[in-house]
Symmetry: C2
Subunit: 318 residues, 2 copies
């Protein structure tokens, strides 16, 4: 299979441009002083559905052939991809069928329902997800859109870094988190094409470090029982994603759970924006000195802002 | 005393322009659908020190005569004005002396110290604050900058609504919270001058409703033992502020504590930004149908984003 190139990301950007937000970029004097660098945060937490995932899902839906599209799209996801695909399908006027584990966070169930998708619940195992999805496909004829191991999805995700470089110039480093690798593979293609003197570095939780191990072993080593607060990064790297990452990503580093929480809190406190734990992983890598940013111009993609605020003691505040 | 006019706010804006952020304005499709209106949120939570207060403090500091300025400035405040005055003084290169109750939130003590101000702690009573401040003035010769009952402060606060109207056109309604009345008096002057067909409406917590009662009785009735989660709105309306509000504000409404928490959570969840409880009061008024916004174009000034996140269970997340 031919791997996607930057020209495919340019086409994706044209295709999705009027459906996605060109998200703002924020800076923080306090965080710059703390890290000794100039950091530009690309705020995908302000993207529709609250995550970059809407870029890839929209591109995938818009790439469907018309005769297939009318049957709808489907996926199994407990996270942002489910909401992203639901809204992308709604905007296109086609059905979306989402297989979700019963254990998925309330906020994500509500979001998916709110976008008009049909949810089928399954047991919280990969086997149950996959068998339930097969049943849905057999019944509806919907096209499965994989959350990351999908060329159109990858090209959509690569448009965030494209906007960042177009709007703010070149960077010494571009950082993003790595879970399944959709964002990192797209970002790496974009980085090498339009920011060739800079590096693309991914950060991953220690407790879900399959990408780190795979990258350094030069072969795919899936996660076994990963554990991290960064719930968007529990998945193992996809095959297509890994082939791109091997060729285009400069480095993958890992961070501690404590570092993720510290970085997330720092962003909430100093930047006054809500980011989810997965989004905090690149800044955690900087704070834990896993990446040297001293005196450098750094772009960080804040991947999303969907935190289950039901866990916060709002009611106790009264 | 001559009350300030819009020309004074224009001069203040020129004076402070290069020191303050021209804060962004955000919208939310979800909140627009929920309320049946078009709401433009002016994000003073992204202002320096995390609150609109930096506008007024900066204007007051820049208006000082040079021979007085070198002695520094002082105030008693447990809140955003303390941090705002500290940073404004630092930027001007003069000392700031802040009298704070021992009970002030940690985040605010740290912020004020971080900006290089000298803190004198006092008992958490108005009498102790005032007597301690007098001692500080006697010792240092610093000029007291009142948090709201001060013409230069009022003119600085009026620049936020000025930017909102300049950047986003006219509004049917402009809403802001009311505590001491610095923001409301400045906003009302601006509103009547450059958005004359629109109304300026303030929202206040039921548990600290002195402005509401004063406005409707047409005389100042200070709060007795006010209680609200909106800690920025506990103060009673100032005298200068009230004279302006009587002339220029169209309406004051009150909201419940539950409404404030609901509105704050809605903004965190759907807009992915951190606002403090005081900032949520105008949206609470809309959600509680105290203000009819149906089909209207509404500007809301989100006053600040300083929440003590130490109360959130971040560490439990690990």
């Amino acid at each position: 299979m031919k791997l996607p190139e930057f020209v495919d990301i340019e086409k994706a950007h044209e295709r999705i441009g009027k459906f996605v937000h060109r998200t703002p970029v924020m800076t923080s004097t306090a965080i710059n002083q703390l890290t000794g660098s100039d950091i530009f945060f690309k705020c995908e937490n302000f993207q529709k559905v609250g995550a970059f995932k809407f870029r890839g899902a929209t591109n995938a839906v818009l790439c469907l052939e018309e005769n297939l599209a009318s049957n709808g799209v489907c996926t199994h996801s407990s996270g942002n991809h489910a909401a992203a695909l639901a809204l992308a399908a709604k905007q296109k006027g086609i059905p979306a069928y989402i297989v979700m584990p019963e254990s998925a966070p309330e906020i994500k169930k509500k979001a998916v329902e709110g976008y008009g998708a049909q949810i089928t619940f399954c047991k919280p195992t990969l086997a149950s997800r996959e068998s339930t999805l097969k049943e849905v496909v057999a019944k509806t004829g919907a096209t499965e859109i994989h959350p990351y191991n999908n060329v159109e999805v990858i090209c959509g995700q690569g448009t965030s870094a494209k906007e960042l470089v177009e709007d703010y110039g070149s960077f010494d480093l571009i950082l993003c988190p790595i879970g399944g690798g959709g964002l990192l593979s797209g970002t790496s293609i974009t980085g090498k094409a339009i920011n060739p003197k800079g590096k693309v570095i991914a950060a991953e939780p220690e407790g879900a470090d399959d990408a780190y191990r795979s990258f350094h072993a030069n072969k795919l080593i899936p996660s076994v029982d990963p554990k991290t607060i960064a719930d968007g990064l529990l998945t193992s790297v996809g095959e297509i994603n890994f082939r791109i990452i091997q060729r285009k990503t400069d480095e993958i580093v890992t961070v501690s759970e404590r570092g993720i929480v510290r970085a997330m809190r720092l962003v909430w406190e100093r930047m006054k924006i809500i980011i989810e734990p997965s989004s905090a992983v690149p800044l955690a890598a900087i704070l834990e000195n896993k990446v040297n940013v001293s005196g450098k111009r750094v772009g960080i993609i804040l991947s999303g802002g969907n935190v289950d605020l039901g866990k916060l003691p709002f009611e106790e505040l009264i």
